[in-house]
Symmetry: D3
Subunit: 297 residues, 6 copies
């Protein structure tokens, strides 16, 4: 579970440049000899982003040694030591903030996800994310959701089609819209329909949708609707349309997760781990005075 | 107060590509005629990011018309209409998520900032941000803090020097560190020292620091320390060192803002509006069926 | 069916720079007044790439007027006029080669695809492409396949999983490999297994694959295997695995398309339209001497 | 003969990102231990692009070991082993398709070139390429032409001037056009005139062109025209114009190469190796079960 | 003579970002209404770079109106008005420094070139530049040389081959080195040999060089050497090597130009206009108080 | 004092591509074995840019060995050996020109700066640069100024505010302009006012400016004005405005430096080291024939 992609190299440059800019004015304050430091969690949570720390420091100086003490998605307790670093003192301080910022942000998302996932434990219902992600961090935030035990929904507009409220308002009907997509999309891509009423949901199943997203429909209504949709999907058997259907609920409050999980839906999708989470508090600590670096200063 | 910089054009491309990728599979569902839509706030808050919405849509299609109904930093109530858009239906849906994501994120920061600023109203003490910002969004998140009534601290490592815990641990003493920075830095840049004890703070003032950041020192101690530091700065008059000194407190809990404000510090810096805020909930709504687009479909 | 994506802007710059480099040495030979030109097909074929021509010329000079006479995917006969252009003489020559090169290349692919699709007409079997595409042109070449009447297979490694020969050789068994993918992949993504024997294919269906790619298995064997696989998929009904299965054949010679189409497969995938096609021959012609430009030279 | 330029690094990123996108969904299927693989030619041909394979894999993971068994431009027979690779299993599969695609494409061009070059063997006439190259691959495709034994024509609009049909139509006369170019161009650059008639060709020589491209003029006419042009160039001796002239023919069918070679032209330029070639078929094979990787899985 | 290339767009962004960075702190001081300004020369010189001014301002705001009063390469006297601008006050100040910097730099080069060119007036000998150019500005500085009346030498390592001191030291002999280059280079490219002695120069001519650069050879020696080289080139007539030869001198002091011009060389190449020139002094002036902008503030 | 920033990697690519383009045509002339070379100063001066040389060669080939014999900012005499290099012969020649160009340019600036700084020796007055820098080289040229003993003024529009002539003309008055900036700027940033008269200067001090730049005011007037400004600043003591003030002079001729230094200003800012300096002449020399490379050719 390593989040690193070649496309991230460019992002790393943007992040580092945004903090370093025209150079670190504070560098002359310290001798540039080899120093040691470590990261500790100031709050308990789920750790996420370790491989990025390696890449961020390596990008400035390949000789910095980053030793990860945590696996991705592992839980840490307060004051737990997470990472040990050794390298040029100026480089350690140059990348410190950037590396901490991304890990604190992603770990916050992983932690928030894990709390929601725990709510669903034993129900067989999965927690999925949405496309509400911080611009520039889509792939990494979705990775953090996985680290927290969540499932990813579609990654972008190009891997899965979804007919949302506006599409339906601006197209003739669900069947026509669905067929138009099918004619252009790569064959392995699925088509999901977002429905706000039972009627829309049924129309979607009949039209051959691969998934139905039931948005802001109360749990009590879902108890009745979900089995109807599954049966409708089955009865599509003899025509060539989809018989397998994934049913998801959205617009669900964190406190209602269990109630919705009992309705028979396959998954519940929510943006909360990204839009309503706090960063996990982590600090970098320098080694005590007694520390002897490999290279004398 | 327009946040737009030429360097943001490149970020916008990254954001749009991350969502659109190899193309919107759902586009064929709708006829590409001119349509109208608007944004509404689903919760009250402080609006921020409108000029970015213009740039995002214009980047895909210069003919989309974006009409901002809110000024930057203006408060909105629930269900308030924020923006009106008119343009090709496919483009409206292509950029919708990206534009909403950045505005919801930034407005969340502005809203959180405004709550803290309100706490300090009448005290003369300013609320400032930190370098804890989401990677890739530093300039915009600091802009959102301003929209919420906050003050920006340094923008990066290159506009202001700051001696932090690690610098002090790794340099001989504050005076030497400060002089080394002064010798290299552009003359207009200031030097701030982060102090965790009264002794460090005094040493910093004597060494000629332009600002002292008092980190995690209790308010009761500050009541005594702040006037001492100011007097110490005055007595530097006859040597060539700094006599003006800015004193800030950090590590302050949101509930303690007023107590710290009464200590005589000039400002309180906190990452809370960025690391512990929620997105402001905003939706894009299509126009009702009766709407007549300028260009028939 | 417009292939234009925001991410293409960057590619266009690369293409233009690769031809123009440090400037067109031949420009001084002509006065830079407004001139007119048109494109003609020197061979019959399927036209593809018109919207790119607009973007290429507009990128150099927004005032160039490009009038497309052909729809994307439309067939042209020899000597048919395809595009009319009017603009600064130097710009017309500056972008001519780049614009012709991409359209000739893409139209060659669309033409080759349409020949194969014609072979399958009436069989209900679709022709799909592969990931064998010219580096840098994946999205456009797959678009050209669609213009020629073909269906796209997965767009990259990230929208659909496929277990190929090497994956199977390097993993324990199909079931374990498939479950490991399922645990990490976004829920809407499908998993396809490439099988070279009937046994592998059956194992894949039992393991719950969404699709099976039967590679280099003779048509006579497929006649028997395909129904077996479909029945096997049905009998998965009571467990929670996939019951819908897409069956495709690959490694099929162009001359054998009809024989394979009769085996009951859903589609035949082939790289031939991209790896074994010729460019469609197209020329740009200047207007005859009698032509009077709007702006005198 | 190493094709690698610093500017290619950026292209490699584009190629890899276009296939890998948001991450390889199939990676979890295999353990990421060290594995071995090799490439074999499935058809005879001329190999080209080996150094790119090294760069592509190294870009993802510097520890992958790529051992080239073929020199650039060397001929291979069917089933010949071309490259041996050893490295992380996930990386081998991550870059496989991208590396194969570029090598198959370039080797196809080298192979096609070598066939045409063989036709001209012993005639002293060289085969040259044109600016009809796949957008984004100009430098590499021209490199492949050299690997196949061909000669490169100008690389872009900026290293050599060429007066083509449209320039002549849009300028007063050849002499004026040529002088205008000469006044602006770097002194070492040459000027070529494309002529469709004997008159144009003679006018070009008199005007001092460095080269004349005789387009679509039948071989029988060339037999007479070529010596006339050479004599004309000689008689320019006492004025200050060019006396050396390179004469090339274009618009020549592959089957007519020998006939044109006998006309006395210096070279024949053709886009056929790029616009009418097929990819050379190459496969990556994993090592048999008996293979023991250095690092146990 | 417009220097603008599509590849410059990217450079312009770099230039603007390097000055504007995270935003112009001084902007809030002025109301952003339409204002008028103009540029004046504070010293006489040769103006160069006007089209870049248009592009720089347009890049920030397409509505800024830039009216060029000078042609490229035209001489200006002290206090001459060069450009008139009208646009948003904040934009005028945002791009002012960047636009002035490039024009002052380029005009300085054009001015210095024109002084040297004047020295050679009437001699028929041309003044050429070298590859000693400021990193990042090669194309523009060579353009400035042309604006000052100079001739460009090769643009880079890829348009013309040159055997310099080191090549000769590291290769077997000139003939072998030249033949090795000829075998790989595009046919229209020329090969120049840099010679420091008469012997090297003669060897180069015999080996078939297209040009000989006589470096730091005194004028009196050149008087004898140049005719010898021309005759040698003539006598190559019956073998297939070059008979036309361009002879240039380098390492010539500005005060010796006329002496060298009389030796019969074709051109004298020097880096002086780029490495030893001063910027032309130009200022932007705001309009007097009486000025009435179109749009009231 | 290492000028290297992560953002420079991108510039290095631009520089190398601008010279190498589509490949070094002269490479085939030499065998690509390991060779040795060194750089020598052909004129005395101040050396600057050594770390860039390392990065430039390393970017093409990490195995090139660059040994710096000079510290940054160290003075060299004529014929002094500056750098020793060992590596592939083709790489040494590929990057030679680019590396020399930047070092000659920067060393020229450092040398010119050091001459002016020497003029001010013993006066306690510092020499500062301006924003007149070559587009694309701002950070490096300012670094060269520091290497020559100068002080940097603001780095861009975003780290320090400056009210210049145009701002004052276009705003109501200095106090209003200053307050408007203060309300938006990060708190550590300073505000400078450029004054052309004593009145403006006094108004600036009263308004609370952190610095006053006295432009083109004669030394004799400054003798009287400077103490007045300092006293005015002191008397601001009891209100909350700036009491420390930095006073600088600009528009000072190189021959007048001492006269201005005696007026009591803190610094003199000038663009002369950048706009009116010559490159330091440096050559790369190959090792004599007797040199034995580690790897035989």
């Amino acid at each position: 579970m390593n989040p690193f992609l070649p496309s991230l190299n460019h992002l790393l440059d943007i992040w580092l440049n945004e903090d370093i800019g025209r150079g670190d004015l504070s560098s002359p304050a310290i001798k540039n000899c080899v120093r040691s430091a470590h990261w500790i969690a100031k709050k308990p949570g789920v750790f996420c982003g370790g491989p990025l720390v390696k890449e961020i420091f390596k990008r400035l100086d390949p000789s910095v040694d980053v030793h990860l003490l945590m696996k991705e998605g592992e839980s840490c307790c307060q004051n737990q030591r997470l990472i040990e670093l050794e390298g040029s003192a100026q480089t350690l301080l140059l990348a410190e903030r950037t590396a901490l910022n991304i890990v604190m942000h992603l770990s916050g998302i992983a932690t928030a996800t894990s709390h929601l996932v725990k709510e669903l434990e034993g129900t067989g219902v999965k927690l999925a994310d949405t496309r509400k992600t911080t611009p520039g961090l889509r792939v990494l935030e979705k990775y953090a959701v996985r680290c927290g035990g969540g499932l990813n929904h579609r990654l972008g507009l190009d891997d899965t089609a979804m007919l949302k409220e506006n599409h339906l308002a601006w197209s003739e009907n669900i069947q026509i819209a669905l067929d138009a997509i099918r004619a252009q999309a790569p064959w392995p891509s699925r088509i999901i329909v977002e429905a706000e009423t039972a009627e829309q949901a049924k129309e979607a199943v009949i039209a051959g949708a691969d998934g139905v997203l039931l948005d802001e429909i109360p749990a009590e209504k879902l108890h009745k609707l979900v089995p109807q949709l599954r049966q409708l999907a089955q009865s599509n058997k003899n025509n060539q349309k989809s018989r397998q259907i994934i049913i998801e609920a959205s617009g669900v409050d964190a406190t209602d997760l269990k109630a919705f999980a009992s309705t028979g839906v396959d998954l519940i999708s929510t943006s909360a781990p990204i839009t309503r989470s706090h960063w996990l508090d982590i600090s970098m600590r320098f080694e005590a005075a007694s520390y002897k670096p490999k290279t004398p200063c």
